[in-house]
Symmetry: C2
Subunit: 683 residues, 2 copies
Amino acid sequence: MTGTVPPSVDPAELRDVMDGRWASVRRDARENLDDPDFLPVYGETMQEARERVTRAATTLAGSGRVGFGFPKEFGGEADSGASVTSVEMLAFVDLSLMVKAGVQWGLFGGALELLGTSRHHERYLRDVMSFDLPGCFAMTETGHGSDVQQLRTTCTYDPATETFDLHTPHQAARKDYIGNAAKDGRMAVVFAQLITRGTNHGVHAWLVPIRNDDGTPCAGVTIGDDGPKAGLPGVDNGRLSFDHVSVPRAMLLDRYGQVAADGTYTSSIANETRRFFTMLGTLVRGRVSVGGAASSATKLALDIAVRYGDVRRQFAAPGEDREIVVNDYLVHQRKLLPALAKTYALHFAQGHLVETMHDVQTAVHVHGQEVDEDAQRELESRAAALKVAQTAHATATIQMCREACGGAGYLQENRLPHLKADTDVFTTFEGDNTVLLQLVAKGLLTGYRDTFGSLDGWGRVGFVADMVRETVLERTAARALIARLVDAVPGRDDEVPMLDRGWQLKMFEFREKHCLEGAIRRLRNNSATEGMAPFDVFNDVQDHVLKTAQTHIDRVVLEAFVAAVDRTEDPAARALLDRVCDLYALSTIEADKAWFLEHTQLTASRAKLLTATVNQLLRELRPHAVTLVDGFAIPPSWKAARILEEEPGRQEAMAARDAELRARNGQATPDGTATALEVPPAQ
Amino acid sequence: MTGTVPPSVDPAELRDVMDGRWASVRRDARENLDDPDFLPVYGETMQEARERVTRAATTLAGSGRVGFGFPKEFGGEADSGASVTSVEMLAFVDLSLMVKAGVQWGLFGGALELLGTSRHHERYLRDVMSFDLPGCFAMTETGHGSDVQQLRTTCTYDPATETFDLHTPHQAARKDYIGNAAKDGRMAVVFAQLITRGTNHGVHAWLVPIRNDDGTPCAGVTIGDDGPKAGLPGVDNGRLSFDHVSVPRAMLLDRYGQVAADGTYTSSIANETRRFFTMLGTLVRGRVSVGGAASSATKLALDIAVRYGDVRRQFAAPGEDREIVVNDYLVHQRKLLPALAKTYALHFAQGHLVETMHDVQTAVHVHGQEVDEDAQRELESRAAALKVAQTAHATATIQMCREACGGAGYLQENRLPHLKADTDVFTTFEGDNTVLLQLVAKGLLTGYRDTFGSLDGWGRVGFVADMVRETVLERTAARALIARLVDAVPGRDDEVPMLDRGWQLKMFEFREKHCLEGAIRRLRNNSATEGMAPFDVFNDVQDHVLKTAQTHIDRVVLEAFVAAVDRTEDPAARALLDRVCDLYALSTIEADKAWFLEHTQLTASRAKLLTATVNQLLRELRPHAVTLVDGFAIPPSWKAARILEEEPGRQEAMAARDAELRARNGQATPDGTATALEVPPAQ
């Protein structure tokens, strides 16, 4: 849309567009986050990693960078967006430290702040912030990960002693995968079924001491160690079981539900399910942080792979006195560049999400306004959507980058193994991605109006059909701009140039609406089918429903990217981002080409043109690949990848190799270029 | 084709079909491969892992199970197929041990045997087999992984001293990622450019001592350590550099090229490139072994994920007093079952490959027949193809299984992290998969007739167009059976039932032929384009060329599966395998649905029917999921996964949970089923 890309684009301009509203937090981190304990140490044992990361967390607490999210009266900044941005930056440095910090100040501290009341804040919050009180967020049980409303741990009130009895009824009910539990945690926010006067009021949270001052477990508490994991060696995940542990009444985090001395239960929210999800909803920041951290790791992996591919030679060019660097191969470009484009797209979508989250949370927690339920549900759905997109993209992209670096990518000294192993759990923690996709789908299907509807309600979805168009179109960034672009699409769809942004947007919108309408129709038909079990009504179309969520995510992300291009002022940077946006849009359509063909949005010849257009974009963007990773502005000292270090004599060695090649080509040697299509075993 | 699947199928029948020609080797391993050092130890340090695996390799040598591939006069069995089968079995136990064994007896021992002559055999082979002489296969250089014909290490003959001078000219020429180098290796087979009388005769191999008896490096040899890797902690990969190391003339492995005392070079193969690839071709067993080992790891991962998914409960079924196990979800089935089907398909393709390899190698190395060049090239291409298919499938499937097991899948105690990390390098070692795909494509494009043609030759591909049909159709397992099935397809393609095996085969064949013809046409057009650089002639269509190779692999695999179903005698097992074969065929077509739509092999309505048919197959196969992993016949003692252990009181706990659920549903609690579409944060 904005013309050709000039040969040279200033990466600082890209960085400035990407830095966005919390640019100062990013700058501060780049300049000052440099403690030697912060970087991963390759080959350290699990014990060494845990000790280093505990030290690093203490250092981090002392730096004042953990308080962004906490209330000002406790020395925080009450700046939710800064808090998430800070986690994103920490994720570049060491993911164990990022997760440890997330557990301490996000989950444990966040629950204490948001589910507790002033007496909890006054007594504990300063020690939480200083890391003098390391804590856990003990929700997940071995037998219940995703369905936490069905947790089996019970906490039963006894008016005679004015205490709760916290109990783990069987092994599947033990708390599992709990960060900070195996080594450091002194207290835990424990989630359990609140039972008083013989009635279960659903899941609530208590602040429970788990270790004595000497480090031994408190009476009745059994602490286990999850032991070594695929990654995150510095995070001490463990297991907690409670054998009738006595918990004082005051330790109930009672913002949303209170138990009087005599055992009377009160709450401002009558419906138990609604209350529970309101409590959970306050903790949305954790999910936003995990998505952002996944993107940081993805950027670093791409930074390494793109730079390596720009100097790594593989085969000699036929008939030429040079070897080709791997970034020059079309298939290598097909691996790296669409992933790079999607990383930019997700960055801008994350930026938009963080702004939304900040505004919603600031209204409630800083300005004391009433919760806007629609806005809150919308935020939770968007957070789930982007967590899924960013973590799935991280898993796929970091894997691809590892492979793109060959044997070098398999060595820990080149960072990629740590990035892969550490982020691997992101797709299944803070909400399993498949389950989160269902959450997103539910939001779409009900338009947030039937917020707490049951699964049975899927059988009664007829009424939502009318809102499909409205709900799909009302929720987006930069609506006016998008509408203008879509309306400007000239002529018939199958004649429009593929680089027309309006056409791209139309394709994304059409697919989402069509999927959603189809899902609703199929659910309605199933529910009208006699004898079909309620589970099967839904399960029969689960793949369709999840695809609908995925198409929604794709559109939200594209719209965020379009808005970002629009606000880019530097003409060169804008032209480049515009092309990158084209690549994101067209490679996303290409990846789901079957759907567009099946639904007559692409003819066969246009489908072939699509592939050719993507290849053309790759050729155009290839010279800018390094500029695009420069735009991530990752400080070299954070990368800790040996292959990025200029080896002494490297240039001389390259020159020597070229000279040898010339000599060999000049000799009466056999045709060396045959090797471009041959390959030996390698070990 | 063979009717409905009975409710119960005996997994022993599946096992017997899968065990194939080397069933006795598999049985022996299952019964006797049980040394405590063989299993991975979770949380061990790299040093501990290396020491354990060295011990285990010694134990393995003592067991007599490493000699299958060696000549009978040295105590081996001259049984190439048994050798690969034995590696496949070892891969279930510990992949570090499998790779260590592969380096010692496959690469090092194999090169010594196949590139050396009797004086090398007599002097060293017994010590190699007993592990008294640990050795390395030093081919790959830091700067040259894939293009080993361009290795920079030189070995220059001096008639005055009758020695070679082995030299590493610069750092990019050091040998890298070399197994056995960092700790154990005493000698190495080193690949270098052979120069004598001022002429470079291309890459040859020498047997070179690298460590003295006291473990110190030999004079002039610098040994480095690659340090910790993503996985394979028990393999001591390292780096070797040579500073003008003197190597006696007799240490040249001289089966394919000899240097006389006066420096005269002789060889039975005049063309240097052809000689080099003949030498490499003898080492094809390594690539076949890696593919087979990848499949073993895949089977184990699926075994764990399928069994876990059969007991893991997630949400309550709406309106029912039970929780659904995750294997009951359509989307979970969509993850596990097509991967399971493809694993069966690849198993049978690997079985066919191993038989072919065995027959080709036995003819030459045991019966002393002339090399059948066509058969050898065909074998190398097939080995490359299946290595790509099996290792890519392993990477994707083990990742999926990890995620399917949620947090439990992230704990080392549940084995999946080791399987993922250890196999990760398989896609890029023993030939990078992208480069191997090019090798496969070259075979298809030239019909093996222009075996050593250069890349420039791509411009002269016109002559091969005529052979496309012939070469595509002539190379396959069970040709007569396949032809009969294809010929029997009734009526028009768009009316044939999708479970018709002939139709499935036709679709695979059509796609391969069409891709191949298109690639040839585009290459021809490019080469006729004036001013197009030779590199661009090829690079412009690289994606198309690699896709062609992929479609070829898919067909070869399907045909092997079809042949295996055909030879299954037990009717129940046959009916089940037939359905699994349908799922492999249709999910493969579904994954590339865009292509079939674009090329009018599927109408839009048939494309939708395809998805519905795959879903129907999933429903049919779901009750047999555990039977299908039982068919892999992996001994429980090899699995080393805590989640597969029956926990004490598990059944009681499940019953208790169901009772609680009933009680809650009976209570006046809110609608708990809403949670099926909600999800909390989890940490």
